[in-house]
């Protein structure tokens, strides 16, 4: 095959028409405080694992809101459950519990 030096990339566009509202409702049921995140980034900044792996609670919440839960799960793989993010969250979200809840709801959905 002739190589043209470029290839087509899949679209990176987020389609909010296609988010799974049912799954998200389950998550809210388990950890209602997921709704309170104001994307400040404190959790990511102080994350123990975040320096070495792409661990970020803020981004994981955002990915889930955008319907990209697989990315969220990948992002939380490196989490040590150390709880530093819970300590720093200004919206008092139990992020540690949230991480467990995300895994519970979305892992099973695979």
């Amino acid at each position: 095959m002739v190589k043209f030096g470029f290839a087509l990339n899949p679209s990176s566009r987020i389609d909010l028409d296609k988010t799974d509202r049912e799954k998200f409702a389950q998550l809210v049921e388990l950890e209602p405080d997921v709704l309170k995140c104001m994307a400040c980034g404190s959790c990511t900044a102080s994350c123990t694992a975040g320096k070495f792996t792409p661990t970020s609670v803020r981004s994981a919440i955002l990915e889930i809101q955008n319907g990209r839960w697989q990315q969220a799960l990948d992002m939380l793989k490196g989490c040590l459950l150390c709880g530093k993010c819970t300590m720093v969250c200004p919206r008092a979200i139990n992020t540690r519990h949230l991480i467990l809840a995300i895994n519970e709801v979305y892992q099973s959905g695979k």
Binding site: R13, D17, C37, R58
Partner: protein, 338 residues
């Protein structure tokens, strides 16, 4: 008895008139439209706690007993005669005023100017004022039953050099969050999206309102300005923005899009101010006060005063405080107290 002319019968004009009347002045209030209350008369409920606008307005109007007011009136000419201003109204009334107070307020930014949002082109695009009117009257064919998704666009005609308004209109973030919650009360199953650049929830209770919008109503806040809107064959709206927090373009199909039109200086008020040479204000179009900190109620001309949104975007309580301050400043001026 000293005459004071108050131009503009919105909240600031009503409050200042009531106070000046109590201080013993002969107040002549001039209102261009057929009713008192300005924008407040068209609003349904007020942030942060949802007090009915009607109740607040009724209270204000009940305070102006004894004030002479003219509806559907405007100032034809105004000029200085010795130490007083000769004010001629379009209804033939002439007043020799010892002081004149501008409470001319604001005009809403005409949303059709932001063509890419399609106001006046697509059926399902409305403004914050249209939605307030729907809350009040439940009459608007554009708002249909059982919507799936509704969007709010912050900063329409504000923070926008191309729209001619570089400043922030101050109240529209709080209005958007209030309306987002209210629309969820009307349609509990609807998904609501607010497209914002910064959320300016500065006042007491506003941050709580934001938290409640997230926690109690599940409103989704997307940090990114809507860049364009298109309509599909079903008259649904396809909205494009960037989710700047993830750095990815976003697309969503909406049943209704609400534009948060900002404030700009009242064009009628500006015409009157031109006659006095005080309209060529700062580059934001609002009137310039004598001093930005200490003399907010004074214009650069003796005997001419300002209160409310004619000197920049204000919340309702801001405007009321300024109205009361203006009444005292006018009293001091007329009494010769410096």
């Amino acid at each position: 008895m000293k005459n004071i002319v108050v131009i503009g019968g919105g909240p600031a004009g009503l409050e200042a008139s009531a106070q000046l009347h109590r201080l013993g002045y002969n107040v002549i209030l001039v209102e261009k439209s057929p009713q008192l209350g300005g924008h407040l008369a068209k609003w349904d409920r007020l942030f942060p706690s949802g007090i009915p606008a009607k109740d607040v307005l009724e209270k204000m109007v009940s305070q102006i007993n004894g004030v002479k007011y003219f509806l559907e009136a405007n100032v034809q000419s105004i000029n200085l005669l010795h130490k007083s201003y000769n004010v001629i109204l379009n209804n033939g009334i002439t007043v020799l005023a010892d002081a004149v107070l501008f409470t001319t307020g604001f005009d809403l930014f005409p949303a059709q100017k932001k063509e890419e949002y399609g106001y006046g082109i697509y059926e399902k695009v409305i403004t914050n004022a249209d939605l307030e009117n729907w809350f009040k009257t439940k009459k608007d064919n554009r708002v249909t039953e059982n919507p799936k998704r509704i969007g709010f666009v912050h900063c329409v005609g504000s923070r926008d050099e191309k729209a001619g308004n570089r400043y922030c209109s101050k109240v529209c973030c709080a209005t958007a969050v209030k309306q987002a919650c209210e629309i969820k009360q009307e349609f509990p199953d609807v998904e609501v999206f607010c497209f914002y650049m910064d959320l300016r929830m500065f006042g007491r209770g506003y941050e709580d309102m934001y938290l409640s919008a997230q926690k109690d109503y599940g409103v989704r806040f997307i940090r990114g300005r809507v860049s364009e809107v298109a309509e599909n064959i079903n008259k649904e709206l396809i909205v494009k923005a960037e989710d700047t927090l993830s750095g990815k373009p976003i697309k969503v199909t909406l049943d209704l899009l609400v534009l948060m039109s900002g404030m700009q200086n009242c064009s009628e008020g500006t015409k009157v101010a031109h006659q006095l040479g005080i309209a060529n204000a700062g580059n934001d179009g609002f009137f310039e006060t004598k001093d930005a900190i200490y003399s907010q109620q004074h214009s650069t001309r003796e005997g001419i005063f300002f209160a409310g949104a004619c000197t920049g975007p204000k919340t309702l309580p801001d405007s009321l405080s300024e109205a009361r301050a203006a009444a005292i400043e006018i009293h001091n001026y007329v009494k010769g107290i410096r």
